[in-house]
Symmetry: C2
Subunit: 275 residues, 2 copies
Amino acid sequence: MIEDDGPAQVWRGGMVIHARPSGIVAPSRTGDDAMSKHFVHVAVVALGLFVTSAGAETLKLPDNLTGFSSDAGENYFVESDAREAYFPLASNFLTQKTQSYCGVASIVMVLNALNVPAPSVPEFEPYRTFTQDNILDERTDVILARDVLAKKGMTLDQIGGILATQPVKAEVRHAADSSVEEFRKLASSYLGQPNHFVIVNYLRKAIGQEKGGHISPLAAYDGKADRFLILDVARYKYPPVWVKASELFDAMNTQDSDNENKTRGFVLVSAASVQ
Amino acid sequence: MIEDDGPAQVWRGGMVIHARPSGIVAPSRTGDDAMSKHFVHVAVVALGLFVTSAGAETLKLPDNLTGFSSDAGENYFVESDAREAYFPLASNFLTQKTQSYCGVASIVMVLNALNVPAPSVPEFEPYRTFTQDNILDERTDVILARDVLAKKGMTLDQIGGILATQPVKAEVRHAADSSVEEFRKLASSYLGQPNHFVIVNYLRKAIGQEKGGHISPLAAYDGKADRFLILDVARYKYPPVWVKASELFDAMNTQDSDNENKTRGFVLVSAASVQ
């Protein structure tokens, strides 16, 4: 699923300016009494605008979606029934590396949240973690070659295939073979258990977003509102949102021309059991 | 503040293995009735271990710190008094790009959380966001040259200086010029207001971590436990933690040899006001 949307039709263009403030006040490197006793106002740079709205740099959300940072979004979180998945995912929340890497970013978040033994990273030696680079290797190339990934993104079945190269259990479910009732039950059950995660593959425009197929992890379920929290990995474009279970299911129940016109759907991921 | 700690002394080495499962089962690309009606168990790869503990890949936390994903950590969050800062920061949580980039990652998180007009990013066109690359330019080089940053990291005063190149208000506070009471009051007040953030610069070993100077944003305050939540940007090394206000203040009230032996401290950041 590639974020291949081109310029957005809904765009808060007024806020997007190349602001280059003048009159920058560098902080003093030497202490003096005035600095010691009072706040140092390092800089107050006026631009003639006041940043007040959340998401000024991201696209406007349609009315059916609730942003995570809004008052309603915070309330959904506090009242949510199933949010075990949230905490380890939030600790590993990523921005997809390119506009075709939504699937890669989602997989990396889940593997790090599951504490799967990770490869080394030169920059972080001696520490290890999955990244959107080191998750891809000769084994994943068999499932999805990196040049194809760069052009077309990832399908639902390829999410399952790439997860299968790691010591986790992954169950791929196409929406056409499920129902909103089953999805709600399975996904909310997973989100309420430690070491259980759900990745969803859906058509953005079906939930009122711009616009193509997309992949991100779910993090919580609020039964009272019947909404799931999507930690959208295209963080430059949309904030995390709460979406109605039925709307999300309908957006998964759409055909993917990159996957033999099979429907999109969801992947249930958990730690591999001992054998 | 550079994460220059070298190999960790406390290391769950037993979990860190190069797991290379065999017997990978690739997902079928063609549907059949069996696949349609039942879960496809894409792969159950047994490694003779069961990933159960949170943070198997990160360092063990000392008893005085509470991990965000632990039951106690989740409870602190739900009962917290001041968490307005949390939601936009969590939506922009980053891993520092290299072991000297903790200050850069912290600044980028806060600027994105504040929705400051951001530069373009070639990979995300037409969308814009701050990254650990595009925040650095000829103006920040005057404050901290990139080659020095790569070797030595960032000081408290340099956080203020780099924030001053953007349209935000930033107040730098050295611990020696403050007190735990004032820090608790100011920081909890900021964390409870929209568009207000706090970046802390502290000595890790003073709170029982490995081991040098470090920088990360605060995200919440729980008055009952008198603990702040640090969203630690060295995510390959430590999870977010809840730390006692007094212990965090003591860890900020330490001298930084890279900053003329001034003490570390905190930076209060908010949106620039209209003029």
